[in-house]
Subunit: 335 residues, 2 copies
Amino acid sequence: MDEFELIERWLERLPVPGSGVLVGPGDDAAVLVPRPGHRLVVTTDAVVEGVHFDAGRVPPAAIGHKALAVNLSDLAAMGARPRWSTVALTLPPGRLPWSFLRRIADGLGALARAHGVAVVGGNVSAGDVFSLTLTLVGEARQVLRRKGARPGDRILVTGTLGDAALGLASLAARSGPPRRMSVLEARQVRPTPRVEMGLAAVGLASAAIDVSDGLVQDLGHLLRESGVGATLFAHRVPRSRAYQRATTDLGPALSGGEDYELCLTAPPRKVPALSRRARALRLRLTEIGEVDESGTLRILDDRGRPIRLAQVGYTHHTLTRTGRGRRRRRGAGRC
Amino acid sequence: MDEFELIERWLERLPVPGSGVLVGPGDDAAVLVPRPGHRLVVTTDAVVEGVHFDAGRVPPAAIGHKALAVNLSDLAAMGARPRWSTVALTLPPGRLPWSFLRRIADGLGALARAHGVAVVGGNVSAGDVFSLTLTLVGEARQVLRRKGARPGDRILVTGTLGDAALGLASLAARSGPPRRMSVLEARQVRPTPRVEMGLAAVGLASAAIDVSDGLVQDLGHLLRESGVGATLFAHRVPRSRAYQRATTDLGPALSGGEDYELCLTAPPRKVPALSRRARALRLRLTEIGEVDESGTLRILDDRGRPIRLAQVGYTHHTLTRTGRGRRRRRGAGRC
């Protein structure tokens, strides 16, 4: 199979459902029909070999999954319905076998289908390093912002935090790919973006952000954009059973990254409705703090004593920004 | 200046005008207001160091210019109005000086301003190779397609062809960056996308494609998608004075790539109106052939004898696809 054929076949594995797609791949550009009265919500994120994943330690399907998941998580944090995506792929010619590329497409395709996302266009370039850059377009009548949190609002978080950071450490300690991934490793490798919860939170939450760079750092962005402060009760931050078995340290739950959970704020009277919607989605939603006027983020332990974190945010080697204040640093060569 | 600061400053140089932008960079995603009754037109394209440009031979501003120009050209070929763009940047940490990055932003920003394009979101990753992936979103009430050409339609092309290919050869023969670029080199390095002509052609042209991979190859895509054939009069293909001074060979005009001109088809009765619109835009528009039912592309010389091309399309080392049939190959290390 030559390179041309390989690319044809790669893109053919991705879904192009008809919903709102007038012209899909095959012309100079895709043509889409936005729903009247809706706004467009657009985000872009890349995964780069050797920076965001180590091909030797992660199943290829997970690379495709995660490339879309990180973008879906951004739309979830805006309360938007994901609809269309473009994919720009850089391929080191001849270095990646078809079986590897096929599995990447399958991982991406499966998640796209699950969320009704059509892959409407693509671009494939040669390049020394494998990378996958997705742009995701969604729709919303009304969006959630990072700004909007007000003193008295409760701070809530979906799911459990810190699992992905512990999973990353566990994967990094291996010499090859695991035969069977632990719960923590799976959380790192195949995150579940909280798209439905983001949609359910519109009209109830006062502000939202996804937890990609660590709770303290991301909550800090939300508070700064909202011009408020908050108190965070560290012992309330939800940790999974696997986490609690692995460590008693709260650090990964407070500062670990890549869980792709949602952090929401809401006035107390709206918290019951938010909780009901989370329950309907079988999603854990935990109140972990309260917004105040202080302008700073205080973190208290279970006896009410302030905690000082050694590490405020998850330090990625990668620098990421969907906008101001969105940056990551992450060790090259980690998976 | 650390890496974080560098990225802040880079993105600050790009325009985020207010038109249709409810939320720009600074949140989890951008929020845009599409015009009622318009369709979205979306394309993505990347430029990769060592594949699409050689940083030692091309001015940095031209890299930013071209990254946007190739996407603008795709929207031009659809007859769409470009509006919003996202930028995903991969940076080799510490290897690129600020002055270089700043100039890339300035080249991109100047062309974005000229076309009223807002850069609404971005992503910056570390990576071993510098690359720039743009996704461009435009709007149109009605679009031009590759399909739609009918027997009897005239084939027209904007501007002159082959300049960029000759410019590339000229740059490749240099050992360093030119102090002053020749006309041909400038056509290669800073192409002018025909956005206004694309818009002007809606309702008149029956089909359109941009000439990025060589006239014969791109016209071939248009004919295949339309299910027709054509006769092309090689001696009518417009060549610039600089081209004619450089060579009498028709090859680069027929098979050279990266001119980013438009190739249009239109029924004879609509050609005068198309020509008037081109004149109003001070753009050359040349009739170069006629669509027929043959299903193949015949190329005739000035005596009516068939020409066989040694090289059908422009061979890039890069593989590009906005959809089926959109592929490029191009020598690595060329600029």
